[in-house]
Amino acid sequence: MTTPLISLKNVTKSYSGMIALSGINIDTYPGEIHCLLGDNGAGKSTLIKIMSGVVQPTSGEVYWKDKSVHFKSPKEAQDLGIGTVHQDVGLIPMMSVARNFFLANEPTKGWGPFRRIDHSKAREISISRIKSMGVSREIAADQLVGTMSGGERQAIAISRAVYFGARFLILDEPTAALGVKESSVVIDLVKQTKSTGTGILLITHNATHALSVGDRFTVLTQGQVVDQFKRGERTREQLLDLMSGGVKVESVLNGR
Amino acid sequence: MKNLTGLRAGIVAGIVSFFMPTATGLADNHNHDNTIIFVSGPSSEPFFGAIEKGFTLAVEQLGANGEYVAPAGWNDIVQTYTRFVEVAIAREPAAIVIGNFFPESLTPLIQEAREKDIAVVLYNSGRDNWQELGATAFIGEEPFQMGYVAGKAAHKNGVSNGICINQIAANPVLQLRCDGYVAALEEAGGQGDTLILQSEDSNNSQRVRATVRGILLSNPDIDGILTLAAHLGVDAVEAVADADKADVVRVGTIDLSNLALELIREGRMDFAIDQQPFLQGYYGVLLAQQHLDFGLAPTNAMNSGPLLIDSSNVNDVLAVGSRFPGVRGAN
């Protein structure tokens, strides 16, 4: 059995007495898409924050490749290879594709006071990386990100995270704001990324999207895991019931 | 018809000069026509409004080729005024009429103008050394004298401990007036002090009244106030009334306004020191024009002030003001 990338063991998080997460156990693996499902307020965003090092758990352990880790900052998580693509993608609309791609990691040439951005290198790499994600439309490196579609922005953000060493990608609701066609582009992107051996945590509340790409599934309700299963173990109807607030949770669990 | 020809000539010259900047730049030297550029102070000030009236009348009566330029406000007045004079000189007119308000920056420019053979007439400020600088003539006040006369008048009215309220800290002219006031009081055995008012507050009557009232209450010995602008004088009179000290504190001001003149007539204000700005505008042009036409100029500085206006002559001044609004620098 392969070593998991990031694992949470019995993780609990409370904010000034309010319990946001309790007793969470999750394992994620390279080359697998782990879907995290749940309604608003189920604790998804707290879980992302713990995994990406923004907050520390109140109790419980976080493991990276079977080693216990305590992230003090998002930077530490990033350095290990945990990349996060937020719902707003984290790109700057008024900046070009290449400038966005290399933001805060600009390739430079020259020395001392003459050190400058290697623009041709930035253009070349960013475009080839984005193209390798399977984006069909012609994209220019000098194009402003604001002129691009939601799917294309996801492609830039994902390829950027992977290029800068992400072995594990947290994708926060990548299809939430998108139409049907753009969503399917993004789903293809996610599959494409998975095929490179990257582990993915896909946060969504769209059961259809989840079932079409997910390898493992975790359903959260009110800060607790109500179900965890592998691909093919639940039907779409069962999943929808689980997500709709846990009314039928007991029956599903008991029926197993 | 004359206007149309002028416009056409202007258009042609504009186009030509646009395409041949250097050519006209060199040809500029014969631009020594008869233009007189009058660089004035902020138009928002009634004082400079009176100067403009004088300027306009002189240009009209003499048929002079005069141009009047003025900054919009007091902001950065040293820099703005200096730039205006610089640009006026760059145009190489026949004469410029300027105030030597800021000797440090303007003196080199006056010398430069003289080197370029541009006649310089000084008004308002610069009495001390206009001849050394090669200026053609001087008409105006001497700021120290303005304050000094005010100090004398205040002393005559029984003031022994006066304050001078300066609303523009940066203006050396105003500072000198205060110095003159203080000097006159001290000479007479009294004492005086200068108070700086935040310049952005000086047009806010409420603020000025509250400030002055506070000063009077916290310094009960003060028995005289001199303000350097008429509207501040009016505010000071109100502040004195607010502080219930109308019978103790005597108020006088430099420069005029109708309201201040009314207060003098009512006996609530003692005096206003006038420097007759209209004359500075009028004679500024006249002196320049006569010099250009005939090479004539007075051999001494001309005094337009200080003129003391008190209860004895205030009615005459008010009468002129109602017949020719703005001419007395009051409105």
């Binding site: 900046m95 933001l103 430079t108 | 258009i11 006209t24 730039r83 145009r91 050396p172």
Partner: protein
Amino acid sequence: MELGYLLRQTWFGAFLAAIFVYIFFAFFGGANGFTSIGGTAGWLNTAAELGIIAVPIGLLMIAGEFDLSTGSVVGAASIIVAMCTSFFGFPVIVGIFLALAMGVGVGLFNAALVHKTSVPSFIVTLATNFIVAGTALALSRVLSGSSTVSIPDAGWAEVVFATRWNQMYISIIWWIAATALATWVLKATPFGNWIFAIGGSNDSAQRAGVPIWRVKRLLYVWTGVSAALVGVMTAIQFNQGNAVAGQSYVFQTAIAAVIGGVLLTGGFGSVIGVVFGCIIYGTITIGLFYTGWPTDWSQAFIGSLLVVAVLANNAIRDFALKSKN
């Protein structure tokens, strides 16, 4: 394609406006010598002094922040130079050094205040403007008894800061240098990339790992030092320091940046656009002079142009974000 490219450039509107304004005044003021060397020097000098501060202000505004304290830094720097040389009798280099150090200090103070208070920089730096102006006035009056102190002779500094050639001041050279430096930083360096990113989206930039406060601190120091430099320059040009001078820079610099296509909310703009903004400002204020029309109108001109500029910039930005390529 070529026209489309131009229409998407932030500076293009300002460029057209500068050409238009120049032709306008060449037409109506050319006969009086607006296009002569003297006339050209006039608007160039004005644009240069404004530009030395407006260029870094433009960078700061691209990063989404304001600095309205530059005005009082100009005055404070000028009085520092004047007092050090004339009043205390120090060598002029000491005065210049202290003035520039004051500029650095005000920049650090602004950055710290904006960072710690999380109050919009528009307000924070306006407060600094009053603090610095008031302190400069009070200290100069306590120490020298006056708010203006003359500088009889600044020695070598006259050459560096006040050289005049055909009525053109050396400040034009300083302006060109400041422009070149800012252009290089904004276009070619990672730091420039960060400036755009912070103004475009503070959160996204922070998440991407941009050290946003380091960037802003440096930009505030940059505007502070530039304002101090102009203060030194004017002090030596006008042979006097004036504690309360410089207030006109407070809004003029921001106006020049906005006319030059810098987005008020940040994230968009160019150095060359700000340069055109300064040229427009200089051309209007000096150009009116040459028309012989009442100079009272200049503020109305600037105001109208500001409205037009903001509308044009919005249109350009929308166009840039709509056009695909």
